[in-house]
Amino acid sequence: VDVLPVDDFMRYLSKRLDLNHLSALEWSDLDSFQIMEVVAILDECGVIIEEEAYSQISTMHELYEAYIAATVTAEVGRLG
């Protein structure tokens, strides 16, 4: 399964959110509209994370893990 390494993933979201100036992208730094944009960006990329999973996320690392899980699930679904 082709997934972005964690650093590329964070860099990508930082650029899309215009938050390049931050040394590290932290989930707690994002307001609700920015989180909405994260959801829209990942949806746009075909990375569909379930709503319940988003509710459990409190760190960027947890978002990355959800991204990996959704990507793997989508790939398994595509192959299956």
């Binding site: 082709d2 997934v3 972005l4 590329d8 990508y12 650029k15 899309r16 959110l17 215009d18 994002l30 307001d31 609700s32 509209f33 920015q34 989180i35 909405m36 944009e37 994260v38 959801v39 829209a40 949806d43 746009e44 990329c45 075909g46 990375v47 709503e51 988003y54 509710s55 990507t71």
Partner: protein, 219 residues
Amino acid sequence: MSYMRRILQQPLRPKSDDLADSAISRADPLAAAPIPTLVGRRVELRPVGSDDYDWIESLSVLPELGFRWRHPPGTLNPDHLRTHIWQGVLAQFIIRHRTSNDRLGMVIAYQASPANRTAYVAIVLDPGVHRAGWPLEGFRLFMRYLFDAFDLRKVYAEAVDYNLAQYRGVLGHGATEEGRLRAHVYVGGGYRDVHILAFYRADWSPVSLDAATRGEDRW
């Protein structure tokens, strides 16, 4: 190469003029819709029904939402609720989760000025989904609905200073701050500033964007 890697090479935040050609509009079924749609990927907007009023009342009395609700401080007479929540309203909808059918919140347009083609917008979310992000798709749907269903130039939102941080993500990206009413509201034992944010039609309406690309934009 994955789609995400490919899209990484594309412009990351197009100007509104470029939005119709962007990866976002191509991938977003809403952006291609020529008419207002109330259905999104995860949520949809539905009219307020007679069985919603108890839920609305329960939201209005939550401590987390008390200062953000559109009625003045104090307790609201339940007998007056139905009349009160429609006062000055242009349109309002319940934000519903498409899968579970759960109510997530409300979007409200009020204080419309036909002469100036402006209105105010507000959103109330269940505190349980405040930080989830995805319920705000309902706000995006509503903004597009307002601009495409009504002859509005721009829509305002009011934010008390301690709420302004919630809008940080849209300031400069679909919203601009156009005014500040200093020491305008009495909250928590002191007078607080109220910020006036403006959302412009060209940034939110796929219909007007389509018209703009054809040289038909009259706004």
